[in-house]
Subunit: 165 residues, 2 copies
Amino acid sequence: MMQLKNQVEWALHCCSVLAALPEGKTVPAKVLAEFHGVPREYLAKAMQGLAQAGIVAGTLGPTGGYRMAKDPSDVSFLDIVEAVEGKKSTFACSEIRMKNPCMTKQERKCVGERPCGIAKVMWDADEAWREHLRGVLLSDLVAAVGEEVPSEVLVKGEAWLNDRC
Amino acid sequence: MMQLKNQVEWALHCCSVLAALPEGKTVPAKVLAEFHGVPREYLAKAMQGLAQAGIVAGTLGPTGGYRMAKDPSDVSFLDIVEAVEGKKSTFACSEIRMKNPCMTKQERKCVGERPCGIAKVMWDADEAWREHLRGVLLSDLVAAVGEEVPSEVLVKGEAWLNDRC
DNA sequence: CCTTTACGGATACTATATATCCGAAATAGA
DNA sequence: TCTATTTCGGATATATAGTATCCGTAAAGG
C-alpha cells in the first residue's frame, strides 16, 4: 500500500502541540497520548525518534516530559517525517537491467557507469516530495492552526494541558 | 519503510521493453521474466495490473503475450506506478484532532468542516510527487535508453527477444 | 525513599508484500 | 479435433514490516 506509519501523523500532531507551548513547559508522552487518543507506549517510540533527531527534548522525573528542542521556525515537516519514518527513498532500484541475459561482463560494466534511467526518475519524484515537505515549517502549521481553529477550543486545550502537567 | 513494491520496478522495465517493440509484436510474461531475472508468476500479477489499467494488452494462445495498448507518448510513469501500486495517498489522516478530549460536539462539527491542516500539507506533497511522475512519459524513457545504452546491447537484446517470441 | 518520567530492548500480534500454485477460457498450429 | 501455450482470476503459503505491549534501567523531583 505504500503508506507512511501512523506514528508520522501522531508525531506531527504532537509537534504542533509542543510548538504552541509556553517556554519551559514540558508535556509527558502519557498526556500527549491521551490528548490524541492513541496508545501511550507506541507513541512513546515516535517521540523517542523525534528526540533522537534533536527536534524535541525529553526530560526525566516527575514534572518531566517533552518540549521542543528547536525553534518551530527551524523545523520542517520533512524533519519530523524523516525522524520517525527514516530517510530511505520510496523506490528501491535492484538493478534488474543488469540481469539482462545478453550482455557481456564488459558491457555490464559500461552500462553500470550510468545510473538506471528509471531509478533516476523515481528518485527525482521522491525529491519533489521531500522538497515540498522541506518548504513547510512547524511554525507555519502553528500559525495555520491559530487561524483556523476557534480560539475557545485552543484556550480549552491549553487549560486541559495545564491541568495535568 | 514506506517503499513501493518491487513489482513497480518490474512493470516500468517491462513497459520500457514493450514500448520499444516493433508494431504487432507480443512478448509473453515468461520471456519478460527471464529477461529481467524475476519470478514469472509474480511478474504476471503486475502485468495483469497493467492490462487492467489499459496500458498493455494481453493476447491468449501460443504466439500470444503482451504488447502496448497505448502509444508510449500517451503513458506516464504515474500511470504505470498507479496501475501496480494503487492510487491511495501515502498519508492516511485518521482525524486524531477530533479525539481532543476538550471539544464539545458542536465544536467538533465546526472544526470538522475544514480539512486537517497537517493532512493538507502531506497530501500536497503527495501531489507534487505524482505531478513529477505525470510529467515523464514512457516515450521519454525509451528515448533516454536509446541514447544512454550502447546500440550493440540494444541490438543483441532485440535479437534475444526475437529468438523466443 | 518513593514516584514519575524517558529510554532501550525484547516480545507478541497483525497486516502487507512476496511468491507460488491451480483451474478455466482462449487461441494458434498440427 | 487435439495439443500446446497463453492470459486471467482465485486460492494459498511464506516472509517481512507495521503495530502494540511489556519490562528493566537510569534520572530527577518531592
